[in-house]
Amino acid sequence: MRFFLKLHPADNVQVALRLAPKGTPIDVATGQAVSLSEVAMAHKVADCDIAIGDRVIKYGMPIGKATADIPAGAHVHVHNIVSSYTATHFRQDDAGLANA
């Protein structure tokens, strides 16, 4: 069974269908990448290099903006994207971040 799924052709992220260890190969828009950290089920990785300020697209729709340059294969989450509406409330120790 595959590890990652791109939900919509316009997306610049993919979703993990199960826990993906660091180094899992990913077919990305630009060819091949690997996950740069462990990625938990239903978390996202970059499908291409995303520049700071770029919109992050999932389901073909914007879900926020990048607050850092995000290389293809990197975990995309509360540490590097931000809502365009209201701030996200999360617990630093329990947000599913690999380096937490």
Partner: protein
């Protein structure tokens, strides 16, 4: 999906799928006594609901009137302390006018806790006998009102449970049922695509405004409708959570906007605007998932589909909750609390359409009387708090 089953016919012509005696406390000070009465009937359809506040509130009054005359309710016992502001006489008259057995017990006039509990149990026993004789009537999908909410969402919710529920909704709407989705605070970012589905341009404008009101309300509060566990489960922003939540509305045209306690006037898909009107007061719109479920029931929902990723275990008083688990790991951890495993979609073992069919089968089984997982476990959560609403505008319910 079974086509017809036997429902309970109420005097106003509405049909129920359960036949419950509601025991209602009208202020927190009467909660214990009402709870003690209910506990004497464990395993029977005697459910505890109530309003904790001592100050009057039009919303709570309307909600209670609608809940106590819900088609799943056969009889009502009101338990008052005596000095609270809730207008118990108006509520009792409303219930009596619906043809339901109703009694009001005022603890301060009934001899205190023990005597009130004894009198309350006497009423419930006689009410159970009376509602046992309620006429049964053939009932079908077009008689149903079905709500949907999601709670404990994670990154799986928007790709398995919610889209499967959306496909089930499409079939229910096509069969003439009224379906309600809600939580405009979790539609932030979806307003433009949603407005395109409105049956009139004016309704589309109302849909946009309802979401704008939610965004404004939550920005004043300083929090979005987003819990820490959502982030643990892979959701990063309210827009992402919203898009996942939005798909549970399916693809049907949107027929109207209602507010809590408004019953859809016909079949179709309706958005419930749950965000209070006017200045921000009384705190968060819905402080937890059951507040949303209670509003669905007040708008006539015979049952509520509850899609969860992190794993909610709740049910509800009055109307059954069908729990659809989006996350396969959560399903394995909490299988006895779940009705449907939509996690099988994530694992590649079932299609969205197959799970949608399972949901439709669960709906007709539940309507026919089969207990859902939370009913079998005895769950009867209920919460009602303060809110204030203006009536819906004329563009909200276009005549088809």
């Amino acid at each position: 999906m079974r086509e017809t089953w036997q429902g309970y016919l109420r005097q106003d012509g509405r049909k129920g799928i359960r036949n419950v005696v509601a025991v209602v406390y009208l202020v927190e000070c009467a909660h214990f006594v009402a709870d003690e009465i209910t506990r004497n009937f464990k395993g029977q359809d005697v459910h505890l609901i109530g309003f904790p506040g001592c100050f009057p509130n039009d919303y709570a009054q309307k909600m209670m009137e609608q809940l106590c005359t819900h088609p799943n309710v056969g009889a009502v016992l009101l338990v008052s302390l005596g000095c609270e502001s809730f207008n118990r006489a108006t509520l009792a008259e409303h219930i009596a006018a619906s043809g339901r057995p109703v009694q009001t017990l005022v603890i301060q006039k009934s001899g205190g806790s023990a005597a009130t509990i004894e009198q309350g149990c006497d009423f419930v026993r006689s009410a159970l006998d009376q509602i046992d004789k309620v006429a049964r009537v053939e009932m079908g999908v077009s008689d149903l009102i079905v709500g949907t909410i999601c709670g404990g969402s994670d990154g799986t919710s928007g790709i398995s449970g919610n889209p499967a529920a959306g496909r089930a909704f499409d079939q229910l709407v096509a069969a003439g049922a009224a379906c309600i989705f809600e939580e405009t605070g979790e539609l932030i970012g979806c307003e433009h695509i949603m407005a395109e589905r409105a049956v009139t341009p004016e309704l589309g404008q109302e849909l946009r405004q309802a979401v704008a009101k939610a965004a404004q309300y939550y920005s004043v509060l300083g929090y979005g409708s987003f819990a820490a566990g959502n982030a643990t489960g892979g959701l990063s922003t309210i827009e992402e959570k919203s898009l996942g939540a939005y798909v549970k509305s399916g693809d049907a045209p949107i027929s109207g906007i209602i507010k809590p306690g408004d019953v859809p006037p016909r079949g179709g898909l309706f958005l419930m605007d749950v965000i209070p009107d006017g200045e921000v007061r009384f705190g968060f719109p819905n402080i937890s998932d059951n507040a949303e479920i209670v509003e669905m029931i007040a708008s006539g929902a015979h049952m509520t589909l509850f899609i969860t990723g992190r794993g909610s275990v709740v049910g509800s008083a009055l109307s059954p909750v069908i729990k659809i688990c989006a996350n396969p790991d959560t399903y394995r951890a909490l299988a006895a609390d779940m009705d449907i495993n939509a996690g099988s979609i994530i694992e590649g073992n079932a299609s969205l359409d197959e799970v949608a069919q399972e949901i439709l089968d669960a709906i007709s089984a539940t309507a026919s009387g089969t207990p859902t997982a939370s009913e079998a476990l005895g769950h009867q959560e209920f919460i009602l708090t303060y809110k204030s609403f203006e009536p819906i505008g004329p563009a909200c319910l276009p005549t088809a």
